[in-house]
Every structure is written in C-alpha cells, then in structure tokens.
C-alpha cells in the first residue's frame, strides 16, 4: 500500500480502542487505506512528511484524520493545532475521538478548528456506528477542495 494513497489517518495509542476502531472501519469497508499512528509525534511525521515518513508529499492526504486527544509525546490538541494552523494541511477534516466529556476539551477543540467531535461511547455498537458514520461522511460526502 502506497503511503500516498492514504485516506484515513487513525491516531490512537490504546491497542484496545485501536483494534475496535479498525474492526469497525473494516466492517464499514473503509479499512483498505488506513494509516495508524500510535502517538502525536508519529502522526505529525506522517502528515508533514518528515522523520520516518521523510519524502512523503503533504498534498497527498490523508483525506480525514481520526484523532484521539490523550496521546503520548505530543497530545491530540497539539496535533490538531499544528494541522489547523498550517496552510497546507488545514483543509484536512479532523475528527476528534475521545472518551472525555469534560467541557474544556470540547471548547478547546472547537476553538482550534476541529471539524467534528465525538465522545467514544462505551458500548460497542454505538462506537462502531459512530466511527463508520464519521468515516463515511468525511470520505464520501464531504470531498475536500482539490489542490
């Protein structure tokens, strides 16, 4: 799978949540072009074509970022801020995916320009449905402007 055809960047450190998210995406037939990053630094390397992903073209995606907030090294809010303040990446839709219901997070995410925010439901069915719906929506219905 080429790094330049990535449609979804899934940034998640918890192996359990990652497994469930991947399974939900597979069930929704969205799993063919997924890149996983396990912390904020890895996510930034991928998005900006640096470090381990040196040479990757920024213009080539991803089409949507599913972003956990609580991440090792660089946290989700920082990743969101970097993506949304860079002219080259700010058009990429970012969906924040977290278990936190606490107000400051929501407000901070919105002020940083998040496209959507979803609290990970504890129960499996709604979690799967939410991930699938979000992915579908941003990939299929909400085509980002070209170039």
């Amino acid at each position: 799978m080429s790094e330049d055809n990535i449609e979804i960047l899934l940034v998640e450190d918890s192996p359990d949540d990652l497994e469930m998210a991947l399974r939900a995406l597979r069930k929704a037939h969205l799993a063919n072009r997924i890149q996983v990053a396990r912390d904020g630094a890895e996510a930034l390397d991928f998005i900006f074509g640096q470090g381990a992903h040196n040479g990757r073209k920024i213009e080539n995606g991803p089409k949507v970022i599913l972003l956990d907030l609580k991440l090792p090294k660089v946290d989700g809010l920082e990743v969101l801020r970097r993506v949304k303040t860079d002219e080259r990446t700010k058009v990429i839709p970012v969906v924040v995916l977290t278990s936190s219901k606490e107000q400051p997070d929501v407000q901070q995410c919105y002020s940083l320009g998040v496209n959507s925010y979803i609290v990970k439901p504890v129960n499996f069915e709604s979690f799967a449905a939410a991930v699938a719906e979000l992915g579908m929506y941003w990939l299929l219905l909400n085509q980002p402007p070209k170039g």
């Binding site: 359990d16 469930m20 219901k101 990970k120 504890v122 979690f127």
Partner: protein, 503 residues
C-alpha cells in the same frame, strides 16, 4: 439788686449743670431711711416706673435679687457712715427686664454729720455688661475646650494658649506665649507653617487638616488642625486662630482597620487560591475518571460484544449468558461514572437564579417521563405550584429525579397514585411529591440522600443511588431543605423548600 444778681448767676449755672447731668445720668435722691424723694426722667425711663410710683418707695422696688445680702449691707453701711459708695448694680425694671447701672451714691450730711439725704447718680451699663458676659462665656468655652485653641500673629508668634493646648502640647501658657509656633512642626513639615501663614494672609482658612506636631517632650502627636484668620473690627487680618485636636486614637483605630482589611484581603486571596487549586484538582480528577476509567471499560464491553458477535454461535447458551453479564456490568459501571461526574459537576457549576414557573415545569417533566410508561395505570394529581427563584436547569433535574422515582417505585401498583403540589408550613413554601409505591423503612432515612446509597435491591428496582444525592445537593445549593416521610409498602412523600419562593 446786686446781691440778687450775685445769687442768680451761680443758680443759673447750677440749673445748667443739673440739666446736663439729667441728660447723661440716672439720678435719684432718697432720705436717710432710703425713701425716694426725687427721680429724674432717665430714672423713670430705665425703670419703666412713673415718678408717682417711685416717690415714697425705697430702692427695693427695683431690686433684682442678683446681689447678696452682704453686698447690700455693705452699701448701706458705707453711705450711713457718710462715705461715698461706688459700684455696679443689677436692677429690675417694672416689666421684669434687668438693667445694669454704674452707681455713685453720695451722702449729704447735716450739722451733726449724719446723712441728710443721699444722691445716687447712675449710668446705664447694660450693654457693656452684656458684652462682657458674652466675652466671659466665650473665654470659659475656650478654657474648657479639650481641643487646643491657640492664637497667633501673622508671623506665627503665639498670643493665646488655652488649657487644651497645654494638655496637648505640654507647654504652660506663660512659657509659650510670645514664642514661635515653629518648634511644634517636625523638621520635614516646616514648610506647612509657611503654607498656613500664606493662606491666612490671603484670608483663607485651613480646615480639618490631618498632620503631625511635636510635643514639648519631642514626641510626635497626630492632630487635626483648623486655622482661620482673625479679623479686627475694621475687617483687617490681624492674626490666626488654630484649633488642634488630638486624633491619635482615631489614627490608631484607622490603622487597625487598615491592618485588619489587609489581613482579610490576604486571607481571601489565599483562600481563593486554595479553592481554585482544589477546584483544579477536582477537575483533573473528574477528567481522569472520565478518561482513564472509561478506556478499560470500553475494552471490556467492546470485546465482550465482539466475542458475542463473531463467536456467539460457537458458544453454549450458558457462556453467552455470562458474556451478557460482563457487558451489563460494564454498561452499569459506565452509568455510575456518568452519574458520579454529573454529581461532581453540580458543585462546581455556577448557580443561576431566575423566576421559574413550577406550574409549567412539572407537567412538562411528567409528560416526558410518562411517555415511556404506556400500559401502566398512572393517576397523577397536581396541586398548586408557585413561581420560585431557582436555577432552571438544576431545578428541572430535581423534579426529574423525584418524579421518576415516584413513577419507578409505584411500578407494582395498579393504579399508581402520584400527587405533586405545594403547601405552606410556618410561612414557608414546601413542595412535595407523594406516591403510593413501595416506600421504605424510616430507620434508613438517613442513608436516603447519600451518594450510591440504595434502599432497594437492584433486581427489584434499577438505579445507581445518585438521583436523591443530586436532589439534596441542588436544594442545599439553593439554601433550601429536603426530607422524606415513608412507610414500607405504603408509599413515600418527598418534601423540599427553596429560598425565595413566593407564597
């Protein structure tokens, strides 16, 4: 003829003298016994008695009672001995008014050197006396004043010094009069005297000016000073009066208040910081509970679900049942975490106060709660519900919790009876929710409003045990009270009050 002329000339002079005397003085003549034999017009005028009323009377007629017996006796003894008496007498006129006369009584003697008659010549000094008395009163006022009252020249030389000044500064009048005021000004305040004298020179005063002066022993004293120009009769500024009041007590009190205020402010700042820190900690804790406890729960629930979905068909019935229990346990823990966070958030959330029409709120809540209770025989009676001052969101939560409890715990009744209303008890509006449900044993009533406290088994009635704890916290934050009355199997009534509810 010549002799006649010789007598006529001095007589005329005497008459002219008498006329002049009558113009100036009050004249009376009495016999040796003191009977009035003659008065002039001025006597009648000042005493307001007619001549006829006076002749034949003695001077007791105009006695004011002001002078002592000794004074009167001394007068009579003097003139009876043929000596001239001089003095000031206060008399009373016919209309009761008083007048002062400067009096000279001259006895005229017969050949035996006995007084033949007395001539009294008097001058009206009532006005002078009045002015003198006023001045004496003023002087007494100045002497008795606790404030220092000081007179000084335009050059700042002290001319007057009352006992108050003596007490305040320690100098005796005798040792300070004639000295300069400068020695009372601390070194760094010498300029003040120049400024004060300059103002006085321009005819302005300095009023209630708080400053510091030095005592005789060099100790500083806090004073409030008023300095005003003194004018002579022509309106020319001739000096200054200084009134200085000791304000050390007031200053001490002011400093004490200032110190206490500063201390209080510091304490408030410290407490606020502590509270903010505690709040932050609580927020961090809530966040951690919300975020970190949920993740493993999601795994338990999620993977149990995945096993059921992907491998359910390969599991025996019993195994699937156990997995369901795992999922139910996870779900329940999720609810507990949600309720606990909601409860914690209650204390931090600022309390809004708005008029809330409970007569509208309660039916709306009931409609929402009973929409899912179809098939049940519910009889709901709503009594009077007044407008009250409360946080609408939080008060709504109270009604939701109380009414959903009533609906829940009457599940096994047909019909279930629920009564909502308010009554006035001891001048206070008390809301209540009454049901005919399973009730509870009043012995456990103290546990009712505790977090996670339940009086019923989970198999009988679902719930997390947070609903009534939320009710209590909301009511307490509104300054109200909440309590319950119940009997096992005979229903329960929950009461609450809110501060500021209209009757």
């Amino acid at each position: 003829m010549a002799a006649d002329e010789q007598i006529k000339e001095p007589l005329k002079e005497l008459q002219e003298l008498k006329a002049a005397l009558d113009r100036h003085a009050i004249v009376a003549i009495t016999d040796p016994q003191g009977k009035i034999t003659y008065v002039n017009d001025k006597f009648c005028c000042i005493s307001k008695y007619s001549r006829a009323e006076l002749i034949g009377q003695d001077h007791r007629l105009v006695n004011s009672g002001y002078h002592s017996k000794e004074f009167i006796r001394d007068l009579w003894v003097t003139i009876a001995r043929g000596r001239i008496w001089q003095g000031q007498i206060k008399n009373r006129a016919k209309d009761g008014s008083y007048y002062w006369v400067d009096t000279t009584i001259v006895p005229f003697l017969d050949e035996h050197q006995k007084p033949r008659q007395y001539i009294a010549i008097r001058t009206d000094i009532t006005e002078r006396k009045r002015a003198q008395e006023a001045q004496e009163r003023l002087a007494a006022l100045v002497s008795s004043s606790e404030d220092a009252i000081i007179g000084k020249t335009l050059e700042g030389i002290i001319t007057d010094w009352n006992p108050g000044a003596e007490a305040l500064f320690g100098h005796k009048a005798a040792e300070i009069i004639g000295q300069s005021m400068r020695s009372f000004f601390p070194k760094e305040r010498q300029q003040e005297e120049d400024d004060i004298l300059a103002r006085i020179g321009r005819g302005q005063s300095v009023k209630h000016y708080d400053t510091i002066r030095l005592r005789k022993d060099g100790r500083p004293v806090d004073v409030s000073v008023t300095v005003s120009p003194i004018l002579d009769q022509a309106g020319k500024i001739v000096g200054a009066s200084t009134v200085a009041r000791d304000i050390s007590e007031r200053k001490r009190a002011e400093e004490e208040i200032l110190r206490l205020n500063t201390e209080l402010e510091e304490r408030v700042v410290r407490r606020t910081a502590e509270l903010e820190a505690a709040n932050k900690e609580l927020e961090a804790f809530s966040y951690s509970v919300s975020h970190d406890l949920r993740a493993p729960l999601r795994a338990i629930n999620g993977f149990a679900g995945i096993v059921l979905e992907d491998y359910g068909s390969q599991l025996p019935e019993e195994g699937r049942g156990y997995l369901e229990r795992v999922r139910n346990g996870g779900r329940r823990m999720g609810e507990l975490i949600d309720d606990l966070l909601a409860f914690a958030r209650l204390s931090r959330q600022p309390l809004g106060r708005h008029p809330v029409d409970t007569a509208q709120m309660v039916p709306a809540v009931l409609a929402e709660l009973t929409s899912g209770a179809n098939g049940r025989s519910l009889e709901i009676k709503t009594g009077p519900l007044p407008v009250c001052e409360a946080d609408p969101v939080l008060l709504r939560q109270v009604w939701v919790n109380l009414l959903s409890n009533a609906i829940k715990y009457t599940r096994k009744r047909a019909p279930a009876l629920i009564e909502v209303g308010s009554e006035e008890k001891e001048g206070e509006c008390v809301f209540f929710v009454r049901d005919n449900g399973v009730g509870f044993d009043m012995r456990y009533a103290n546990k009712l409003f505790g977090v996670f406290q339940r009086l019923h088994r989970a198999e009988d009635f679902e719930g997390t045990g947070v609903g009534l704890a939320i009710v209590q916290r909301v009511i307490h934050r509104h300054g109200g009270r909440v309590w319950a009355e119940a009997e096992p199997d005979r229903g329960a009534t929950f009461y609450f009050t809110l501060k500021g509810t209209n009757k």
